[in-house]
Symmetry: C5
Subunit: 341 residues, 5 copies
């Protein structure tokens, strides 16, 4: 959710995350097929203009809003972009500006028993990519690939680089979903075999996590779809963004499947509970129904009436014992016929 800011200037950039205020560190990689160089400043605008270089600057953390704003102003980024970039709770989105695309994506990670969503912002110029994040080095495998010139990333432009980073972020969901899939299987076993009151809380937690993933991925799906249709993206790169789109569909599909499964768990839990209750009630009922009349009989023969003459005769004792023996037998037969047990 967006921060408390009623009365604030729209477009006023405020950091809303939890990282303490720190000087942002800029890490710039400039590369083409032949060389790669690393800087700790933004690339020269002339460089960015030169066609035969690709540059990627990663800026982290974004907790010092004034510094971040300065960097953005220097690159002539629209103030609304700067605001969204600092609002770490902002939904994923794609905005098309005159000479750059602004993209927000979310990655996910499993910390303890909670899901954490990380906010990643990208500003994609023609041959310059700017990425902002609170995580110090979230894209290390891609950096390594650039350094080692493995894969196609060195021979392609910044759009392909952005695709590589986005692909890497989306992969985090597959990790988390795999873990969730195992949890759901465990929960299914628990619910079907030995549910207790904790099961309900677990169902609730997993449902909440699935909804959270869905809420993060759904706008990414739409954003990537917008990217595919954007004129900004080169024709030959479009196939890669279609691949990303397939990944989001796959994630959402898995989430829907899990939700369908988990939704059924509560019904199963309640029906098993009802069943147990039924069994208990049946046992109680049978025992009570059998012994209550017997207790009445013993009570009857325990009365102290002087004229209760049956108490004096041997036959009385025999017949009453027989009665006490025969009543439960009849009742058990009756219950058996009614299929109570």
């Amino acid at each position: 959710m967006a921060p408390n800011k009623q009365g604030e200037l729209p477009g006023s950039a405020k950091y809303t995350g939890s990282v303490p205020q720190q000087e942002p560190v800029i890490t710039t990689l400039c590369y083409n097929t032949e060389f790669v160089e690393k800087f700790t400043t933004l690339p020269h605008p002339d460089l960015a203009e030169a066609k035969n270089y690709q540059c990627w600057s990663h800026i982290t953390p974004i907790s010092d809003e004034d510094k971040i704003r300065k960097i953005c102003d220097q690159l002539q980024i629209h103030p609304l972009v700067t605001e969204d970039l600092l609002t770490v709770t902002h939904r994923p989105k794609v905005d098309e500006y005159e000479n750059y695309l602004f993209i927000i994506l979310k990655s996910v990670s499993h910390s303890k028993s909670e899901l954490l969503f990380n906010h990643h912002s990208f500003i994609l110029f023609k041959n310059f990519l700017l990425s902002f994040s609170d995580l110090p080095d979230p894209f290390s495998p891609v950096t390594e690939r650039i350094n080692k010139a493995s894969g196609r990333v060195r021979s392609r432009n910044s759009q392909y680089l952005f695709f590589s980073l986005a692909d890497f972020l989306l992969d985090s969901y597959f990790f988390v979903l795999e873990k969730l899939g195992e949890d759901i299987e465990d929960l299914e076993n628990e619910v079907l075999n030995d549910p207790d009151s904790n099961s309900v809380a677990k169902i609730h937690t997993i449902k909440g996590e699935l909804i959270a993933i869905r809420r993060a991925v759904w706008p990414m799906r739409e954003s990537i779809n917008a990217l595919i249709r954007s004129d900004f993206i080169d024709e030959q790169n479009r196939i890669y963004f279609k691949d990303l789109y397939d990944h989001t569909i796959e994630i959402l599909d898995t989430v829907e499947g899990y939700r369908d499964t988990v939704s059924g768990f509560l019904d199963i839990y309640l029906s098993i509970l009802s069943n147990r209750m039924n069994e208990i009630m049946k046992t109680l009922s049978i025992i009570a129904t059998i012994f209550i009349p017997l207790s009445f009989l013993t009570g009857y023969f325990g009365m102290n009436f002087k004229y209760e003459t049956i108490l004096q005769s041997k036959e009385g004792f025999f017949w009453s014992n027989l009665l006490i023996f025969i009543i439960p037998v009849i009742m058990l037969v009756y219950f058996k016929i009614r299929k109570w047990f």
Copy 2:
């Protein structure tokens, strides 16, 4: 809901709010980058025509329908607009007329334990904005910004001013949602740990509030989307309305997330209730099932039959005591095996 007016003339303006009839007060601000002036009348039509001024008139309250109608007629506002403007329960909407846009928005506030929705109407001319509301000064931070010339509002036209006001109104939802988010977290704790019959009423109340917010914001989302595509809005201002649109999406998204969460609470509550019931029934069953046969035994040995010879012998007393001791032990073992406790 619209007021009782079957048989009324369509387009007949009736105030439907709860503020007592009062003379409307007009507060007009005229400004450009260099100066700002305040009036208590509507701006001169000539002034409104002059390109180098922006004017904003706020009219409050709107309870005196005749006066409001006169003001509207004077500005040649369509009677249907005047009607909608006075109907404080009207849904948010945007209507495009020949030389102005008519917009209804709703703000929200938390009064006691109830949500209040306030009706704000705007008539947006090319460089003149008219706002109507029952609240005396609902936009003070924006007014202040105009007076202090902070932000971009002084250097932009009335569309940007309208954006600033709308942005301010939408922020009220973030406030209320934050409060609701905390309530929902409290409720979740309560439901999971110690639910009582009040919990159901609380779930019901929060659900109702979420539905109310959704019903207010949903048509605003559509209206702002219509604004974005309207020819009336200048190209350079469109990005701001896209930002507003993002805010409405964010609000609706949060509301949906909350609804999903709250929807699960009743299920949890009922399953916890079932669980408790089960526990109580089990305890009752176990105690009853153990003692009912014992009571029968004591009753049996308490009968007054003269020929119940077992009562006369020492061994009889010993064996019956043993029986009374052994029956509950067997039963407890049986229950343990059946996992009743």
Copy 3:
């Protein structure tokens, strides 16, 4: 639902309402800004052609299908129109024919504890409106307005007249919804505070009524939307039909809100019922659990064994009394710890 007519000629006009067969009465008003005249026949075709008159004929009742068919044939109405016009259960719709529009609308009224939907058909020529209904004078306020020349109706064409009538019909839903809103509030109080088995029937009834209103208004919304986009409607009248459209949206919105509210009632009712059950079971359990062991003890000391020597000693009596006193105390403490009460 459409009537039994398998095997009937399609386009064969059959009256399906409940009014007994009666000669239809024609009431024609012809007017322009300067005069108004009343006839009991259809207007002369020449008159209808003349540009400076507007005519409106209301025909009621429609129970005499032959007469109605004759009137329609005389005006060269398509047989399918005549059939739909007589089928009083037909859904609201708009059909565009070469030189007229055929429109079906429904009004609603609250009779006793039931909703009644009335069927109104309109045939809208360029400057002639034909209305059919089983109600004798359903539009009296509009008639009066024409007679008194109040409002804009006299100075506008038949499309505006049709708008006035449709607006009037839609207002009936606001009346009924207001009444339903009060019923729902009463029901909410009842369900939250003192639900009984009647509450379920009431919830069911209100739900049914909301569905019925929704089923009547939904196709009207679509029909009016079709009207807005129809070439048949003059540009300057379009704004009025947009207003009608807003009304249908408002009605549907209110209905949806009510349905959401009412849907929650059954859940609340069931959870309150469960709660009560739980309370009852708890009380029963506590009392039974306390007294059942005590009864066993008294039974034990009531046995007639000759060798039950404890019965003979004063200490025995003291200790057993102590036991009888102490057991319930321990149990109550235990229940208190388990938070059973």
Copy 4:
């Protein structure tokens, strides 16, 4: 569902219905406004070409797949059409071929307590209609109308004839829905007043029937909509297919209304069951709660302790009797206050 045919040639025509293999009977009617003639063979191709005749051949039953295939091949029908035509479980659909339309429709009938859906296939040439069905004479009223020259069918082309047949088939749904409507009303009375365990099975059956009707009519709605927009259909006939479309909407609308109603029945049933359970439990609880303490008292005074001196005194008897009388009175007052009865 489609038949078992994995490994079969696609387009291989297999009959999947339950009618035993029989020689198909061809009944051909050729007519124009002036005459009508009946044949038992397919019409001459020359005849079909001649503009001033309309021909309609009905072929029944379709259980002899080889004969049917031969007839189709003779008319140069696409093999996929022949396959679909013989698959009596095929969904309703419209396929447009170069010089004919292929249409599948379903009619419904109530046999015993089950719904039967009949498969009707139509091949619609410019002035020749071919209909296939397992029913011997499903369209007798239309045949009669052609013979008697009543209605418009003789003066119109084969499209109007097809409309007449389709209209006739759709009418079968109104019949069945009327019957279902009555069943639902009966069920509503039963559920609200005196539900038993059979009610659940009845709810289940009616729900299933509604779903079955919906599944048959939904694709017909889409097919007829496709027909309306097809170039194959003449402009002047389009209004008739719009009328058919209205009928399908009406059917689906009624089905949805019924489903909404029936869906509520199970909730009502369960809440009434809960209510009854509550009443029973309350009665049991009150009686048990009152008598269990009393039984303890009588047990206490029935102990055989020699030193239980209260048993010897007249006052003891009086006070204990008073206690036995007063305890239930106090309890009843307490229950009354707690509103247990």
Copy 5:
């Protein structure tokens, strides 16, 4: 779900199935109307160019990712295609490349009590079809048809061949659905007549299987729809893909129908459980309510008070016996009136 591959190169081909790594076997059929020949290598590129041959190569298994990658590189297949082809959990899809279509389909089979989905990839060139699968010979009836020259497959191009294979794969769903339909009918009987706690697990399993089928077929429906509109497919073959599309609709329709049916089962199960519980509770209540007061009475007359003079008189014994006889009679009458049994 896609495999663990965060940090991997996008487009890096990894096999994700369960077949142990094996050399892929290539089976190529080249045919036209006059001859058919079988190879164990890929067809010569020249051959593929020649218009008068159709070739189909089936490659199985795909577990050796390096070999598969080599084959794909040799045919200049895009690396993203190779990746998707090896990801046996990938959703069905159609991707259009410059000179081929890439299609993923799923077939289903019933192994023990589990559904297995098999991954089939197709690369469709103008007159060359490449199919990949882990199953050794999944299309034997089609192969046979080619060898025997039965049906149209020999006289048509590779698109028709692909249609034949896809049609064959889709047929597997009809088999499985038929089996499921029988299971559902059995389950319905069980649930309505004699449900036990296993029924819930069965409902859950069937629901899961239906969801799994839906998840496999839904994207196939969309893919085939994309094929129909693709320029790649010849006009005369489009009708065949429409037929495939109809089949997917049919499958999804059946699945939806089954889901609706199965969804109702849990409600029925729970209401039957409630009913049984009610019956048990009623019996218990009646017996307890009758005997508890009687037991009190016998207890009362079993007290040892010396001054309980009623015990000494013959009339006392008579009247108390009468009381003991009359109380249950009154109660049974009362219960009968309240319709408890």
